[in-house]
Amino acid sequence: MSACAKEPGRRAVSSYAKRAWIILWKDFLIERRAKEHANALLFFCLLLLFLFQFALGPDRERLAAAVPGLLWLGVILAGLLGLGRSFLGERENDCWEGLRLTPGDKSAIYLGKLAGNCVLMAAVQIILVVLFGVFFGVDLWAPAAPLALVLGLGTIGLAAVGTLFAAMTTQLRARELLFPVLLLPVQVPVLLATVSATQALLLGQPLADVAHWLKLLAGADLVYVTIGVLTFEFVLEG
């Protein structure tokens, strides 16, 4: 008895969205029953906290100044672990063929996986923000709304490319090496944008001051998701 989702064969336009939703819901159900990812991720965030503290030393001000960078660094590190495993379930349970034989537009699978990964990364960020606020004594509550916007846009960018590359590297023997090596250079703009914008927001600057970063992130997100949607079927073959 495999864990593959059974895809309906309807031809309505809404079946595309339904297929994406089925992928998202399936992953959520598997996760809820197994609970393995959630616990490990929470623990990983806690570990990161200690890692950063020990790496940067006891000086509180130095830590507080580094928070914008550390926050997104934490997201990236968690992403490398979490995103790389996006399709592991399908691969290990022989569901890959099931994905390939899905009728209709394969990009629905991509969007479903992307949505799931965004939720995962959002959870990581919330945990990190809370932990940083508590342990590093940084006030992250005051700029919460604009910060959420910045982090949200960054998350989409990270997950969009991460999901695509995860599908690609899952099939390869060298996946643990290739996934970070391919993902990180492409993520440089997202990293620069989120860290710069976060830094400005934490210094109390208004959202209007970081508008150009938001536009860059939004533009990059659009490009990455579009390419993901257009090329996912080519990754899925074979």
Binding site: M168, P189, F234, G238
Partner: protein, 213 residues
């Protein structure tokens, strides 16, 4: 045919050296060190040409599934990485006497370094997949994403730099005003483009031969 291109390249490079060292004047502010520009700028322009070809080859491969397009993408990627490396090294050497350090996180060097990392990853991906069909497909996806990302990287790095350093007075980014410098630059750029075309032709031929054996 390729042989003729090779000789033309030698001619071009000789002309470029003559233009850069003989014809072009000694720059007023930086002195003779500025002559590195005749190497640095054509190298980066050629690298951009190479990665544009990677993009075109990648899209064309996914559209037509003809192996020739993948050969173009792979060859252009390899040579592009070579020229990007040259850009970084020459930029660094140029920077030492003019800025006082081997490396600064200035916009051009940083963007070029990111470009280098993206395409080294591209080459690594190609080298780690044995099946030619899968290699071509995956490389094409990465090639497209990498190329489309270039302007995004450019702007993000530029704005990031603006936070840390308002403007540099001295720097390789200054556009040449002297027409003699401009002409020498042009000659060297043509020479590098010929060199690129020659390398590309030979590298693609190797790929074609490899597929047949």
């Amino acid at each position: 045919m390729t042989r003729a291109l090779g000789w033309l390249t030698v001619l071009g490079l000789a002309a470029g050296l003559a233009a850069g060292f003989g014809y072009a004047p000694r720059e007023a502010v930086q002195g003779n060190v500025q002559r590195i520009m005749y190497l640095h700028v054509p190298a980066v322009l050629t690298a951009y040409l190479a990665f544009l070809l990677v993009l075109l080859g990648s899209i064309a491969y996914l559209a037509t599934r003809r192996a020739g397009w993948d050969r173009l993408a792979g060859a252009a990627g390899e040579i592009g990485v070579l020229f990007t490396g040259l850009t970084i090294v020459s930029g660094s050497i140029w920077g030492k006497p003019t800025w006082g350090t081997w490396w600064t996180w200035d916009a051009r060097l940083t963007s070029t370094a990111v470009l280098f990392m993206v395409y080294v990853g591209y080459l690594l991906l190609r080298s780690l997949i044995e099946d030619p069909e899968a290699r071509a497909r995956y490389a094409a996806v990465v090639g497209i994403l990498g190329a489309v990302n270039i302007p995004i990287v450019h702007f993000s790095v530029k704005w990031w730099r603006a936070l840390h350093q308002p403007s540099t007075i001295l720097g390789p980014e200054r556009s040449p005003i002297d027409p003699a410098i401009g002409l020498a630059l042009f000659v060297n750029w043509v020479a590098f483009t010929l060199l690129f075309a020659y390398f590309l032709a030979r590298r693609m031929e190797i790929a074609r031969l490899e597929e047949q054996t």
